[in-house]
């Protein structure tokens, strides 16, 4: 057995890609920081009760479980950092006003989300807690667009939905939980014949609700969708609010935006705007986010929340390439004080200086140096390496 084979959907990140990911990680965290998002680092492990409370069955299945040798209790390795950050907002920071938090770190999934996915995404994201107005949704959307811009991704665009539309219809028509989840499933799969069948067979559903539910999968496209929805959907305050929020988002979004009122991803925990950002070079969404005002409830302190998260690996695949200077080869300074000073100055300026170790001169080419430190007229200077 070859002992160095990794499990499926688990990979090493080698130098070129690691440098790129580290670069993007810093750009993202710096961006978040200058907007006032404070970095937190929740642990890899928690008791399953805290890790999975208030989240769905999906996350449970995706979470690796471990026994805690100290307590005998079951722990999970996080499959999503978002609920952890909500826990920190709810209990550790315990602020009354608005809290902006950022995070990044590896998460593990028992199975890959798609056949092209990794089981170890490197999640990075930002969240606003404590504000329920559209202003925080606007800020999060602007922050995400800025993040995509500074990564240099191409063809960035956004798909936006609002779970309150479907939810308002369900409440208005007093649809029972069983039917609600069947309707949800068929909408989520864009299974129009299935939806038609469910709506047709449902008892006691008024005509306006029937028509509205059947219309949802058609409410997909540009900003004209919002006008159509306004005209055709029942005039419920929650629906009007949702459409007016979407209009405000559309007005200021710097990247192309399309709408999908049948998009109910995360319906079980999302409560308002939901969005997926896409860009060239990434198969699925490059960022996902939305509003989930109930998330803190499981921790005993329900706070409105809105935010987004990305996978640094996917982002690195789509981002503009970084240009780094080739390293400089140098003799080891040993007792040459001038050389030691020169090397230190170059390194302090950000140059990579590799000191050559004796006995390995013939493998020099592997180091990729195109310049070297050499003594010229008594002074150490950087010179090109002749091929």
């Amino acid at each position: 057995m070859r002992t160095w084979i990794l499990p499926e959907y688990i990979d090493d990140i080698l130098p070129a890609e690691a440098a790129r990911m580290e670069f993007l990680r810093r750009r993202m965290l710096d961006l978040f920081a200058t907007w006032g998002y404070e970095l937190v680092m929740p642990p890899l492990l928690e008791y399953v009760e805290s890790l999975l409370t208030g989240t769905g069955h999906d996350l449970d299945l995706r979470t690796f479980k471990l026994v805690d040798q100290l307590s005998g209790r079951m722990m999970g390795v996080r499959a999503d950092i978002t609920p952890q950050v909500a826990r920190i907002d709810a209990h550790l920071l315990n602020r009354e006003g608005v809290t902006r938090l950022a995070y990044t770190g590896s998460v593990l999934h028992t199975r890959p989300a798609t056949p092209a996915a990794t089981r170890e995404p490197i999640q990075i994201g930002a969240e606003i807690y404590g504000h329920e107005g559209v202003e925080s949704d606007l800020e999060i959307q602007r922050l995400l667009c800025k993040a995509l811009e500074i990564c240099g991704v191409r063809g960035a665009r956004m798909d936006v939905g609002h779970v309150a539309v479907f939810r308002a219809l369900v409440v208005k028509a007093k649809i029972p939980a069983g039917l609600e989840s069947e309707l949800f499933e068929s909408l989520q799969k864009k299974d129009v014949p299935g939806l038609r069948e469910l709506v047709g067979a449902a008892r006691g559903l008024d005509r306006a609700s029937r028509e509205a539910l059947l219309l949802l999968p058609e409410l997909y496209g540009g900003v004209e969708v919002l006008a159509k929805a306004e005209k055709s959907l029942p005039r419920l305050p929650q629906i009007s609010d949702a459409l007016s929020t979407l209009k405000r988002l559309a007005k200021v979004c710097p990247i192309p935006m399309s709408f999908d009122l049948a998009e109910l991803r995360g319906y079980h925990y999302h409560s308002g705007v939901v969005f997926d950002a896409y860009c060239d070079g990434v198969a699925g969404p490059v960022a996902r986010g939305g509003r989930y005002d109930e998330v803190g409830k499981a921790f005993g302190r329900s706070r409105p929340a809105t935010g987004f998260s990305m996978d640094l690996r996917e982002l690195a695949g789509a981002a503009a390439p970084i240009r780094e200077r080739d390293p400089i080869l140098s003799p080891a300074p040993n007792s040459d004080v001038k050389l030691a000073k020169k090397i230190a100055a170059l390194r302090a300026s950000g140059e990579v200086v590799i000191e050559e170790l004796p006995g390995h001169e013939k493998f020099r080419a592997e180091l990729g140096c195109t310049r070297r430190l050499a003594k010229k007229a008594g002074a150490w200077t950087v010179q090109p390496i002749k091929r």
Copy 2:
């Protein structure tokens, strides 16, 4: 049950500490990068065969095990990144010459190493592969000292040993494996009466070897220890080489160095110099390292290796405090283009600008802003907030 309680020895890292750790992480990785150490990011999970091959029983006990749902095989969550980096050197990069690698990331331990330890250290380190001379030990030692210097730790000092001294005595005296591990244990515990008993009871041990083994625990202290060892220990080539390596290290080490020839930490996988660095404010060693030339063997490619690793959490506890400017409070720019530009310029210069969200003015104090953006004579300027 309070659902937000974390397991023992597992903690969240909150904003102030997280900012400090992120700062140190970058300084360390930048230092390593400018010295030519390329960053790699091995996965959190591997099959136990690859994760634990060639490592000791200790690491096995410290490693959380998981079943891979895709293969049915046992996986482990890494408890140490070093063997993973050795695997990458041995198989993925596959260079003939010298390879310098750096890494950082969380590791998990089933139990804390000490009652004051965490079960999730954030390991950071640097390794040189492919060079067996003292020059690479010297480079690693200089790099570690530089790392401690730029973190601003106080009272940095180093304890150095060399496992070849004890190993040479064992080989010379043909000490059987059972006795070897008993001797190792008593030396490691500094259990001099136990050592005396073992040596006294051992059969067939020549007088020089007896005396040498009993002398080892006394060979502890400043550079004078090396002269004493040279005079008193048997004249074996491995011992002379070891002492000459230690002498060279002592000569150039910029921080106080002490020697301990009975220090055998990692005896099972270390093969040469071993060192622990200490500083004020950290109970145990702040960095540990040494030479372990056999580490790649388990992966089918034995390459000499020397390096060190640290825990970023411990380092953050000992490092000089970072000074950050307080954030600037600003109205949300909405359609005010001048304000939006001013905010963008401040953020680009590294300032933190927090946009105030409506309805939360009374919780302003929580944001910690001491300055604000205000309009003065038609221009947005930064002004102090009056208390």
